[in-house]
Symmetry: C2
Subunit: 204 residues, 2 copies
Amino acid sequence: MTDLVLTYFDFDGGRGEPARLAMHIGNIEFTDKRFPMAEFEEVRKGTPLGQVPTLLVDERQVTQGNAINRYVGKLAGLYPEDAYQALLCDEVMEGIDDLLNSLVRTFGLEGEALKEAREAFVAGPVVRYLAWLEKNLAQSGGEFFADGRLTLADLKVFVLVSSLGGGQLEHIPVDVVDTIAPALSEHHQRIGQTAAITDYYAGR
Amino acid sequence: MTDLVLTYFDFDGGRGEPARLAMHIGNIEFTDKRFPMAEFEEVRKGTPLGQVPTLLVDERQVTQGNAINRYVGKLAGLYPEDAYQALLCDEVMEGIDDLLNSLVRTFGLEGEALKEAREAFVAGPVVRYLAWLEKNLAQSGGEFFADGRLTLADLKVFVLVSSLGGGQLEHIPVDVVDTIAPALSEHHQRIGQTAAITDYYAGR
């Protein structure tokens, strides 16, 4: 039995959350090592590239969020075995990281500078990437992003949409996804009704 | 038979080159659609996210470089089947994209601003990421990055090291990898001796 420790911020979102959800859905035993934001400077010193999430797999500490997502996705049965379906799953996971990179560049700003940066983030990357995701979902049949079933791609989109509409990000209107990409709101609602996800958040 | 068209800049490097190498090594038939840098503004209008490479798989145009690498890597037999070895392969591929993102932010600068940005790029991200890659290679046995054989991770590192030492990037000393990470220079030399890679570049 492989020993798994996932290290990430103590909040229900971001780049670490899809892996947590996948392991809960797949009943994969792991240590959910959470730390408060204030400890990040200390925690990052012990990581390979100064970033989280990391996954300790037995003795080896691995970095890069989507690499981790893909690995636990395979363990949990939530990653396509077919190469072409895996391509579609990967495309979505990696595209979302572009968007998160744009968002991260607004962190640390304050006041008017934050407002301007967030509004530009919404008007530019958010509009573009949500439209792309909607088109992608439609091309894949409208229900799931790959493989005709729940995969890591759906979890990654689910966590993104939760964050954008969660009201925690200043100057991002909570109805942004409803307005720009209603099909993603419906997808979010549908994925959120997965029994293992409902149970998980009910227990947090 | 799947019809594949890879669209990328007409130079032997960057995010499109590992997929080209993989398909040549694996004898995968594809259309190598190259365009000159000056046409990028026009080409990007026809891509899902304004980025290249893209891969047209029959009728569907897919974006995101590592998603494409992974897919053609599977077709070419250059991607680990074992989930843990695939994790190690992915970690390297995705870490390198961080480094490329830092490099891309220096593009378009000129004169003193370019010099400063490139020197900071070398002193910061390059030093950190090459040290990480060296450690990674050592942990995986010293010869290959994953699976004890040639995989996409080796090709991605090979293309990176070719670029850093290629003399095309102003203010990046051509001996930077030799100096900072000699084990990666040796890896580069070894991978470059793969018959299919030697043949490929000899024919270009």
